[in-house]
Symmetry: C2
Subunit: 269 residues, 2 copies
């Protein structure tokens, strides 16, 4: 609750040396930014430090304005951006809440695969099967993707998602071992709800954005068997790197999607 005397900088010339470079935006910012950007950075810090937990309300705009000694409008603009980036959710009359992968209307926020008829809601929840979950050492390639060093401990998970009994998605995913210490196949199987929600509640890791690289491929024999398709079946290969705050990569996921009953949906603008 204590309010630190947050150092805010005016746009005047001969600015003082930027204190502690506490910005959550990385250390290479040009040591100059509008006030609302600085406020945004401070709020971001509180989000990532866990001062407010996913699903909880953050202080009201008036409170934050008082805390940072700026006008409500400036706080508002900062929150506007955080809201546009899906880091917080505004609810009129109630407050502003830390975004969460749990209790969200959309079950899987990052999964763009949809049934050809109906929508993701109309089909029941996915039937999940953990095929494998083991610890190993990061290869050079994996280390690069997750910003680790080769040989660092990582967790590898393989699972299948089926809809109406039809295996549709085969996923291999890799997580850095340290933040996810204690994650087991059993924990994954027992948990009902999005995997990213489990990451939030059990390991304090919030996935904030992701990049996907999509290709058309054929499965190998093992993959074909797990998805119950011939090895000649064309499948969607979706490689995802998911990031937490600060653009830190925290997951590499390789998905194989059957697209005979589902399709990948993307909106361009």
């Amino acid at each position: 609750m204590a309010t630190l005397p947050s150092p805010l900088f005016t746009n005047a010339s001969s600015a003082p040396s930027m204190g502690a470079d506490a910005s959550g935006m990385g250390g290479l910012t040009p040591a100059f930014s509008p006030l609302y950007q600085q406020i945004k950075g401070l709020i971001l810090q509180s989000l990532q430090s866990g001062e407010w937990k996913p699903g909880e309300a953050i202080p009201s705009e008036m409170d934050l304005a008082a805390r940072f000694r700026v006008s409500q409008g400036t706080v508002r603009k900062a929150i506007d951006e955080l809201s546009a980036e899906n880091l917080v959710v505004r609810r009129q009359g109630k407050g502003t809440f830390v975004a969460t992968h749990a209790e969200q209307q959309v079950q899987y926020r990052f999964l763009k695969l949809q049934p050809d008829s109906g929508n993701a809601q109309s089909e029941g929840p996915a039937e999940r099967t953990i095929i494998d979950c083991k610890r190993l050492r990061a290869s050079a390639e994996l280390a690069r993707a997750l910003s680790l060093r080769s040989g660092d401990p990582v967790l590898q998970v393989r699972r299948v998602l089926a809809f109406s009994g039809v295996p549709t998605i085969l996923e291999d995913l890799w997580l850095p071992g340290t933040p996810f210490k204690g994650l087991t196949a059993e924990r994954l199987s027992d948990y009902h709800g999005p995997m990213y929600a489990l990451f939030e509640t059990e390991f304090g890791v919030r996935m904030v954005r992701a990049d996907e690289t999509i290709r058309a491929v054929n499965p190998d024999t093992e993959q074909a068997e797990l998805l119950n398709v011939p090895v000649t079946a064309p499948l969607l290969s979706v490689e995802r790197v998911a990031y937490t705050y600060n653009d830190t990569p925290m997951e590499l996921r390789r998905g194989l999607y059957r697209t005979d009953t589902h399709h990948y949906r993307n909106a361009l603008s």
Copy 2:
């Protein structure tokens, strides 16, 4: 230049019947919206009526504020949304400009296929070959996609895009015949630059957003030949519906992408 006495409605109770429903947002709006949304609608009308052409500057915020009899902040918020939807582009110190597919830093705004190494800029422009361009009648399926009636005249184009001599994209696209009267294979071949830019300058049709449906497929023999791949090669099938203002569909495009040297890139947030 003439300023119509645009009717704006207060949020007071017992609002008058909404005059002429001139809103560009469709006729089913709940007859109530904040001022800046009404302003946005009016600006949208001017955009779609061609009062300001792609690439041109729209009036300054102060001018628009005077024209609509509101404060600059209200106009600003309206333009903020239009900017977020990529309908206009703000340039500090210069003005606000109607977005265009021409003279844009990114050659193809809606094409998410990228070379595996380097970026879209580093590889030269695509080598384009028009395979076919003919007029025909809309099938039921096509009519549905383009909001036409079965049998309405449509234009069908088939072309191949190659990079460094490697045919990579095979596209079939269908356009409503009426707005695109006069479009020929020659016009398409002669034009250098994005196809959507030609649509803007020659036919006054601005593509504003699009939806894509992605699958993994195998090509038929003809497609395989054009892309110089075996019929067993897995390819990305990208079906796109592109919309102009008012959510009017104006193009159906079916692309087959080779993903052995390129990949489809998507950012999630």
